[in-house]
């Protein structure tokens, strides 16, 4: 499916999707409440078949905090990038996509551990790298650690 059609398809599912400029991939910002249903549709519908989530990154844009999903279809060979954002830094919660792509389980635990993003309906929402009593989320831009990180 070419990019224009993919864009139309996406708008037909989520009318409020915004598109960002990107040379490489079609990038869409999705309202976070639509994420799970969109993910399911993108994976299951015949003309999209996004069956492979090859990267899930949590990003702190300082004003916003969010998750970037890189998707591709192994059968149709097209890519899409989905973004969800929120301004709520204290209690950042998104829907988990673990039931759609199993690989998300580890990715989401990593996002929780390092960026403090919680995922609803995740089967095992624990820290994955750091100790359970670690305070703060190191990859956030406002994370301060005077002992271990030397500011330049």
């Amino acid at each position: 499916m070419d990019l224009e059609k993919l864009k139309e398809k996406l708008i037909s599912i989520v009318p409020t999707a915004e598109f960002e400029e990107n040379k490489q991939f079609l990038t869409a910002v999705i309202p976070s409440d639509k994420l799970h249903s969109l993910a399911k549709k993108l994976k299951e519908s015949e003309d999209t078949l996004f069956d492979y989530l090859f990267c899930l990154s949590a990003v702190d844009w300082t004003t916003h905090i969010g998750v970037v999903y890189h998707l591709t279809s192994t059968k149709l060979n097209h890519n899409i990038v989905l973004k969800v954002k929120t301004t709520d830094r204290e209690n950042t919660v998104f829907d988990s996509v673990t039931d759609v792509w199993k690989t998300a389980e580890f990715h989401e635990r990593e996002a929780f551990d390092l960026m403090g993003i919680k995922f609803k309906n995740h089967p095992d929402m624990r820290r994955i790298f750091l100790e359970d009593d670690w305070i703060g989320y190191p990859l956030r831009k406002d994370y301060k650690d005077d002992v271990n990180i030397v500011e330049q």
Binding site: D51, C55, T103, E105
Partner: protein
């Protein structure tokens, strides 16, 4: 025990043993919490992070030239590919075309690195299955590759040979001859590997049909590399998105459909043959020219988002880089193949025995620093 058992209810007769972080077959500081019923594995939960160094965070503070020396330390057995990824991303973002010579050198180096990595995997897999002799055979044949690296790069394991715009120094004059000699030597030695391990009935009995990962699961778990390809997931980045000189060479993507331990093993052995084919096609045709483009001492990428991936010995290593136009990246997210492959392990080992758990995790070829980053 407090956090580990809280979301998992133990059946009667079930008990938990800790495999790792100090255990001979986790190949590093990985810990499996294994629930067992007798010898049968009921469930495993991996615990990572024992050597979490925060490389992603460190990269956000460093310049692109400095980052090279950090990404070496991810998957130390594919150090070259890791560095190549950063360089490719930077070059793509700046729209720099590197000289042909650089592309050839990078491809040859990456393939040599892949062979060395698969050799180490082969010997440690043999060791995990109880055949200790494999370990020495593998290390013996890996040594000349490291010597070749040392001659050109100075490093044996962590090469740090790539830099944005090219490679750090030109090839050593002996390079071509030594590589050709080595390929000739290793073509004779690789069948020996088959004779020692894959021709052995005990080995076959212990690997065939075990730890099956179906194609759907492989895609859903995002399992890449030889592990994914043994399940029939065509995920070779060298084929799907050719970088460096891979578009100029003719090679097969190793694909099997069985997805069991034995075919993961087979896929890697076959990859070594393919790597040798690739090197042989390139080694005589390395074009003359510069070994690097002159770069500014401080590289600033234009603001934006970049995603690039390369094929390391273990699968697709992806880099999602967000730049805000400064000298260091704003966000440096690595999609490390081992971390993702580890996610699939629990589903593969269910209802096997402890010995199978060891064999299956060996066939995934996990490198712990790449999991933890």
């Amino acid at each position: 025990m407090t956090e580990t058992t809280e979301n998992y209810q133990l059946d009667q007769e079930e008990y938990i043993i800790n495999m790792g972080p100090q255990h001979p077959s986790t190949h590093g500081v990985l810990r499996f919490e294994v629930s067992l019923k007798g010898e049968m594995v009921r469930n495993i939960r991996p615990h990572c992070g024992y050597i979490h160094r925060g490389i992603e965070k460190m990269c956000e503070k460093n310049t692109y030239q400095q980052i090279i020396h950090l990404t070496d330390r991810l998957d130390y057995l594919s150090a070259h590919s890791n560095n190549e990824l950063v360089c490719l991303t930077v070059e793509e973002a700046l729209e720099i075309e590197v000289p042909e010579r650089v592309k050839y050198i990078r491809t040859i180096m990456a393939e040599l690195n892949r062979i060395a990595s698969h050799q180490l995997w082969w010997c440690s897999m043999g060791m995990d299955m109880g055949g200790l002799t494999c370990f020495f055979y593998g290390l013996r044949d890996r040594e000349p590759i490291l010597d070749i690296f040392e001659e050109t790069c100075g490093g044996r394991l962590l090469l740090s040979y790539n830099c944005p715009g090219g490679v750090m120094y030109d090839l050593h004059p002996n390079f071509q001859k030594r590589v050709k000699d080595y390929i000739k030597y290793f073509r004779k030695k690789l069948p020996e590997y088959d004779a020692l391990l894959s021709g052995n009935i005990i080995f076959l009995e212990r690997t065939k049909g075990l730890g099956v990962l179906t194609l759907e699961d492989a895609i859903s778990f995002g399992v890449t590399g030889p592990t994914g390809r043994a399940s029939g997931f065509s995920c070779d980045i060298r084929k799907t998105q050719p970088y460096s000189a891979y578009s100029k060479v003719d090679f097969k993507e190793i694909l099997y459909t069985e997805g069991d331990t034995f075919h993961r093993y087979k896929a890697r052995i076959d990859e070594m043959w393919e790597s040798m084919n690739i090197i042989e096609q390139l080694i005589d045709n390395i074009p003359e020219g510069d070994y690097a483009v002159k770069m500014k001492p401080i590289i600033k990428l234009p603001a934006g988002e970049y995603y690039k991936s390369v094929e390391t010995a273990r699968g697709e290593l992806g880099l999602y880089l967000i730049s805000d136009g400064n000298k260091s990246p704003y966000r440096f997210k690595l999609r490390s193949p081992n971390f993702i492959n580890l996610g699939a392990l629990a589903s593969m080992v269910k209802d096997t025995k402890i010995a199978d758990l060891v064999a299956i995790s060996a066939s995934l070829d996990l490198v712990i620093p790449d999991i933890d980053r």
